[in-house]
């Protein structure tokens, strides 16, 4: 046994089981995807990817996920701030409720949001008066993705806010800075890396989301059809080649965007040194 491994037993067993499990469950299926993609006729591949229907689905998926993640960025920061800094009745309950989108099955969220935001729904009725339609429009997709991504920014920012040393705020106040100045010059830069992490998680979650979206979106090709649904439709038509092409390109773009966000946030992270 090597020195690095120390005295603990079970490395072989644990590692062996882990690799065997990942191999069966992950490696073989992903291998099948790659194999399938390699056998797709290149012309068919290109035609599927560049068809206007696919491009519209890509645009909607990335656009709606981006808008929803931005909404969650703003409201996530606000929620984290209010939950950590202020007192109000039933605060603990509200705090616990923030995790609801993690726990509630997406199909349930989908039908609930649709019924709520439809033209005759509790909320949709009032928005309709203002001329805003949510259900069965791209706005509905944004609403569903806002729901599923809601906990991420709150939960990444909360611990940072909690551990923020009071000393920096005291110093700022004693040097004559107002609250607004202190927030934007001192606190916000501290919270930003965590908020970006939460934003990225929410964005990634939104890209792949299916269950909560398909009810509220109305699924009109070219208008409100998200990419995962288009993949589903191709599979139902037994067009495995088309589904594979769309899935592969969608995954590639998603990973590329996430990598870029991660790289950017690493560069911008410059937390104040803590004593």
């Amino acid at each position: 046994m090597s020195g690095r491994r120390g005295v603990l037993p079970g490395f072989g067993l644990a590692m062996g089981f882990t690799l065997w499990y990942l191999g069966l469950l992950l490696l073989i299926p992903v291998g099948a995807l790659v194999l399938k993609a390699a056998t797709v006729d290149p012309e068919k591949f290109a035609a599927t990817i560049t068809s206007s229907r696919t491009l519209a689905a890509f645009r909607l998926s990335f656009g709606a996920a981006l808008v929803a993640a931005c909404i969650n960025g703003v409201f996530g920061l606000l929620l984290a701030w209010v939950l950590e800094r202020y007192d109000f009745p039933l605060k603990r309950l509200v705090d616990g409720l923030v995790d609801l989108p993690f726990a509630l099955p997406t199909a349930v969220a989908g039908i609930a949001l649709t019924t709520l935001y439809a033209g005759n729904g509790w909320v949709g009725r009032h928005l309709a008066v203002l001329g805003i339609e949510v259900a069965y429009t791209p706005l509905g997709v944004v609403a569903a993705l806002t729901f599923v991504g809601l906990p991420f920014v709150v939960r990444t920012v909360q611990p940072v806010l909690r551990d923020l040393p009071a000393a920096i705020e005291e110093a700022s106040a004693s040097l004559g800075a107002g609250r607004l100045q202190t927030f934007f010059r001192l606190i916000f830069p501290e919270l930003l890396p965590a908020a970006v992490t939460g934003f990225t998680l929410a964005f990634a979650r939104g890209l792949g989301e299916y269950g909560s979206v398909i009810f509220i979106s109305g699924n009109m090709p070219m208008k409100t059809e998200i990419t995962p649904l288009l993949i589903m439709i191709k599979l139902e038509e037994y067009d495995y080649a088309g589904a594979t092409a769309i899935a592969l390109v969608f995954l590639a773009i998603s990973f590329a965007i996430l990598l870029v966000i991660n790289a950017l946030s690493l560069r911008s992270a410059h937390p104040v040194r803590r004593g």
Binding site: L13, T18, W81, P105, A107, F147
Partner: protein
């Protein structure tokens, strides 16, 4: 990237000094804005599930919930969860043990691989198994000859759910085991305990709350999984429809009350999950466990 599910909560000391707090009006406005957001996106969706479920009274509610297809869907979901959770529990423990107790080359790659299902759309996850076992999949013809059904049957549903929920236990345990270190285990082994004894008597008690929470998360996700299961299920009513798929079918048939009645079962389960999560965090903070 690990999700920091808020650990033990430290209560904000009452009465921050004036200079470190916002004016009451600002506080009130910010709180109100946050609460309106919570109302629109969390409370109202929650409320509407129960309101619609009971819209036609308790009789209709219980008829929708105890109707034979609903019961079959529940049975299928329970069966799937009972297969998936123990397997992913074993995997989670093994993966966390290997990753957090030992050093080896390629560890980051392994952790990335463990997390991979989280970054793949559920629909694409389900599709992987269709490409393998579907009628025109890699093993499709071979399976067809032998009349073995994987896709559009229980094995496919189990595989898709396994794939989607596989990171959950591992993700809970890896940071926990890392933060706890292995001094106690090393001591036990040095004092002559066997590997199994050390694991059962030292490690398991140390991580039991993390383990419990991982199981809850994994169960909740197995019960509620929709996208991946949707791809492999084929929607054969009474045979391959899990509870979420049953809700979808009822809803698409405009049986809204029945759909929401069955959905309310899933919603209550979600609420129980949240309560258990709160309890576990509270217990953990009392015991000073690193979670």
């Amino acid at each position: 990237m690990k999700l920091p599910f808020g650990g033990p909560k430290r209560r904000e000391k009452k009465g921050r000094p004036r200079s470190l707090n916002e004016p009451p009006l600002v506080r009130g406005l910010l709180t109100a804005a946050a609460l309106v957001f919570i109302l629109l996106f969390l409370l109202l969706p929650l409320g509407i599930v129960f309101a619609k479920a009971l819209a036609e009274g308790w009789g209709m509610y219980s008829r929708s919930v105890f109707e034979p297809y609903a019961l079959r869907a529940i049975r299928l979901t329970v069966l799937t969860t009972l297969i998936v959770v123990p397997l992913n529990l074993l995997f989670g423990i093994a993966a966390a043990w290997a990753v957090s107790k030992f050093d080896f080359r390629g560890k980051n790659l392994l952790v990335t691989a463990i997390d991979l299902p989280f970054s793949v759309s559920p629909v694409i996850s389900g599709m992987l198994f269709v490409l393998l076992f579907g009628a025109q999949g890699l093993f499709g013809p071979w399976l067809l000859e032998r009349d073995i059904k994987i896709v559009f049957a229980l094995p496919g549903i189990v595989l898709a759910t396994l794939f989607v929920t596989s990171p959950l236990v591992a993700r809970e345990l890896i940071p926990l085991m890392r933060s706890q270190g292995s001094e106690e285990e090393e001591m036990a082994v040095t004092l002559g305990a066997s590997g199994l004894q050390t694991f059962l008597k030292v490690s398991i008690p140390k991580m039991k709350w993390g383990l419990f929470y991982g199981v809850i998360l994994c169960s909740a996700r197995s019960i509620g999984e929709f996208g991946a299961v949707s791809v492999v299920s084929g929607h054969i009513r009474g045979l391959t429809t899990t509870v979420p798929l049953h809700v979808e079918m009822l809803y698409n048939e405009y049986q809204f009350t029945a759909a929401f009645a069955v959905a309310s079962l899933l919603t209550m389960l979600a609420l129980v999950t949240l309560v258990l999560k709160g309890l576990i965090e509270w217990r953990a903070s009392l015991r000073g466990e690193g979670k």
